[in-house]
Amino acid sequence: MIGAHYPVLQVVIPLIAAPLCSLLPKTKLPWLFATAIAWICFAIAIVLLLQVYQYGPLSYEFGSWPAPWGIQYYIDIVGAFVLVIVSAVASIALLASRCLVETDIAPHKHALFYTAFLLCFTGLLGIVATGDAFNVFVFLEISSLSSYALIAMGDNRKALTASYEYLIMGTIGATFILIGIGLLYSQTGTLNMLDLRERMHAIGGFRSVHAAFAFFTVGISLKLALFPLHHWLPNAYAYAPSVVSTFLAATATKVALYLMYRVFYTIFGFEFSFDLLNLGLILLPLSIIAVVISSFTAIFQPGVKRLLAYSSLGQIGYMTLGLSLASKAGLIASIIHLFNHAFIKGGLFMCMACMLTRMKSTRYADLAGAGRTMPWTSAAFVIGGLALIGIPLTSGFISKWYLVLATLEKDWWWLAIIIVFTSLLAVVYVWRVVEQLYFREPHADCAYVKEAPPLLLACTWIMILSTVYFGIDTRFPVTMATAAAEALLQ
C-alpha cells in the first residue's frame, strides 16, 4: 500500500526531484517539472492532514527499525497543518514563477534555480515531518543553504551581501540548535523527539538541560528573526528574486515557528518551558518590542518590499506573542495567525512581484499611479493590506480577534491595547502605499505599463482571495488550530 508511505513520500519526492531537475534542458521543462512536484506534494499534504485529523498522528519508521533506534517520521495535526501551508504556498509560488524567473534570472541558471527551490522546499517539509531531533538540524541546513543560494540570485548586488549576512546568522543559529541537540543527547541518550520527551520527565531539570533549552531558544529565534536577532531578514527579503521572497516570507519563518512549538511543547513540555523556566517572561517583552519597533520601522522604509519585510517581523512578533501567553487560547491565536499570515504576506509579495515585472522597482515614487495602469494588481494589494491591518472580512481580523481574546482571557488589558495600537501602525504603512497607487499621476516612463502577466496575476489573486475566504469562513483554520493546540498541550 502506497498510502502507508505518504509521510516519507512527502519529503522524498522533492528531494529526488531536485537533482533530476538540474539535468533538464534550458526550456520551460524545469518549471513544469518543479511545479508538478510541488502540486503532488500539496496533494499528499492534504491527504496526510485528512488522515491525521481522522485517525490521529501518523508515524513512519525508516527501514522498519523501530523507534527510538531507527529514524522515525512523526506527523501529528500540527505538522500536517504546517505541511499543507508550506506546500500550498510553494505550489502557487512555483506556478506563478515562470515569468518572474524569466525576467529575474539568466536562462542558463533556470534549471539550477528550480533545483535550489525544490531543495529548500524539501528542507522545510523535512523539518516538519521528521520526529528525529538530529534530522531537524540536517533539514534545517538543507533549506537554509538552498535559500542562501536563492537569495543570492537577486539581480541587485546587495542580494549577495544580504545572503552572506543571512548565511552567517543562519549558520550560527543552526549550530546553536545543534549544540542544544547534543546537550539533550548527552543527558538522555536518544534523539527521537517523543522518546526525548519521556526521558526528560524522568531526569527532570539538570543544568545541561537548562543550557540546551537556552541554546534552542536562541538558535530558533535566530531562524525565526525574532527581535533582536532579526537583522538579517529585511535585506534578504527585499533583494531576493520576487518569487523567492514570496516563498520564504510565507513559509520559512513559519516553519521556524513550528520548530519552536515542537521544541517547547513536545520536547521540553509546557510545564518545563513556561512554569519552570518562565519562557513567557522572555518571549513576551521581545515579541512586544518586535511588534512595535518593526511596525514603526516599516513606516519609514523607502521601498515596499522592505516595508513588507519589516511588517513580517512585526507579524512574527504577534505569533510569538500568542505563544508567550502560555495559554491554550494564546497558542490557538498563534497558530491561526501562522496560517493566515502565510497567505496574506505571500499574496502581498506576489503583488510586488507583479509590479516588479512591469516597473522594475518597488520604491514608493515608482509605484505612483499604478492603480490606473495595473488595476488588478493594485486592488489585490489593497485587499492584502486590509488583511494585514486586520479589517473585518479578511483573515487578518480573525487573527487579531483570537489574539485579543487570548489577552483578555488573562485580563491583560494593556496588551490588548498594544495589539490594536500596532494594527493602527499597519494602517499607516499600508495607506502610504495605497495613496501612491491611487491618488498620484503615473510617471512618464511608467504611464503605459501593462497589467501583469495573466498567470502571475491569477496566482496572486488565489492568494488574496484565500485571505478573504478564510476571513469569512473561519472553520478550517480555527478547527485545525484548536486541534493542533490541544495536541501540543497534551
Binding site: I389, W401, D473
Partner: protein
Amino acid sequence: MMDLNQSIWASMLVPLVGAVLIYIFKSQKRIIEIVFVGTALCLLGVTVSIVKLGDAVFHQTITLFEFIDSVPFAFHLEPLGILYACVASGLWLVTTIYAIGYMNANKEKHLARFYICFCIAMLAVMGIAYAANLLTLFIFYEVLTLSTYPLVAHKGTDTAKAGARVYLGILLSTSIGFLLIAILWTWSATGTLDFTPGGILEDKLSNELLVLLFALYAFGIGKAALMPFHRWLPSAMVAPTPVSALLHAVAVVKAGVFCVLKVTVYVFGIDLLQTSDANIPIVWVATATMLLASLVAIQQDNFKARLAYSTISQLAYIVLGAALATTTSIIGSSMHLATHAVGKITLFFCAGAIYTATKKTLVSELNGLGRTMPFTFTAYTIAAVSIIGLPPLVGSWSKWFLIDGAVSADQLIIAVAFLISTVLNIIYLVPIATNGFLLKPDDGNTKINEAPFAVVMPLCVTAVLCFVMFFFMPVIYEFLS
C-alpha cells in the same frame, strides 16, 4: 410580496448589483447614470416592502453563517433600523439625482469609481441598519468607512488627500482602538453579541467598568463625532458636495449615532444605564460637544465647514438623547436622526447648488444671492428653521422630545443646554438666509442664476419634505414606541 429573508437579501444585493453594472458600463456615462438612479429606486422599493412587513417580523434573526466563535453573521429587523434604512434609502434617491446634476455641472472626473463607491456605501448602510449583532454591525461599519474613503479623496488634490487621510485615520483608529476592544470585552464578559431588547450586560460588570465600557463605545463609534474625535468631519468636507450631503448628513454620521442608539438600547439597556449611572460622563461630553461645536460653527466662514460643525453639534443632540437613557429621550433621538437628516441634506444641497452656480464657498460672499437663487435660498430657509426646531417644520418634534427627555431624566441643566444650543443655531444659520434675501448683491447682479435643474429639484424636494414630515411625525412616534 417578499418575505423577510428575501427583502433583507435584496437590500444588500441591489446596491451590489448596481455597483457591478456601473463597473461593466463604466465608459458609457448615460447608462451608468440611469443604473445609478435605478439602483436607488429599487432600494427604496425594497425598503418600503420591508416597512410593509410590519412589526410581526421584529427581532426574527436571519443567520447567514457562523463567523467566529459561533458568533453568526446575522440580520434582523427592529424599529430603529427600519427608520434608519428608510431615511437613508429615501434620501439616497434624492441624492443620486443631485449627484448626477452636480458632477456633470462641475465636470468631475472618474464618475464610475465615484458611483460604485456610493453604491457600496449604501450596501454598508443597509448592513448596519439590519445587523443583528455587534460583530455584523462592526463589519459593515468598517466597510462604510473604507468605501467612503475614495469618495472623500475623490478630487485627488493634496488637500483632498490630506482631508481623506484624517478621515480614514480617525475613523479607523477609533473603531479598531476603542470599538473593537469594547466588542471583544462585551464578548468575553457576556458570551453573546446579539442585540437583545433590554440589553445583555446586566449583572455582568461592575458599575465602574460599565462607565468605561460605555465610554469605549461612545468614543469608539467615531462616526458619531463626539469631541475630541470630531476632526474627521470638517476634514471630509473636501469631498464633492453630494458626498458631503449624503455621507455627512445621512449615511456616515447617522450610521454613527444609529450605532450609539443601538448599543444603548440593545446592549446596555435603558434600565441598566439608569441604575448604574454609566451614562453620566457621556452625557456631559455630549453636552459640551453640542455647545462647543455650535460656537465653532459661528466662527466658520466657509459655508460647508459651518455646516460640518453644525452637524457635529446636532449629532451630539442624538448621542445626548441616547445617553440620557429615558424612553422619551431615546424616541427624541431616533426622531432627530430622521429630521436632522432631511434638514441637513437640504442645507448641503444648497451649499452645492450655490457652488455650482457661482463657485462661491464663503458665507461672507453670499450677500444678496437670495435674489438670484430664489429656490435655493427659500429651501435653505425652510431647512434652517427646521433644524432650529420651530413649528410647523419637522425639526420641532424631535427637539421637543429631546427636551422633554432631559426634563424627565431630571437633568434640567441639559434641558437649558438644549435651549442655549437652539439660540446658537439661530445665530449661525439664520444670518445666511437674511443676508441672502435682504442685503444688496456685492456685484449688483440680480438676474436669476440658479444651478441646473437636476441640482435644484432635489433640494426643493427635501425642503418640502421638511414641511410634510411635520404632519407624519405622530405616525413615526407610534412606530418607534
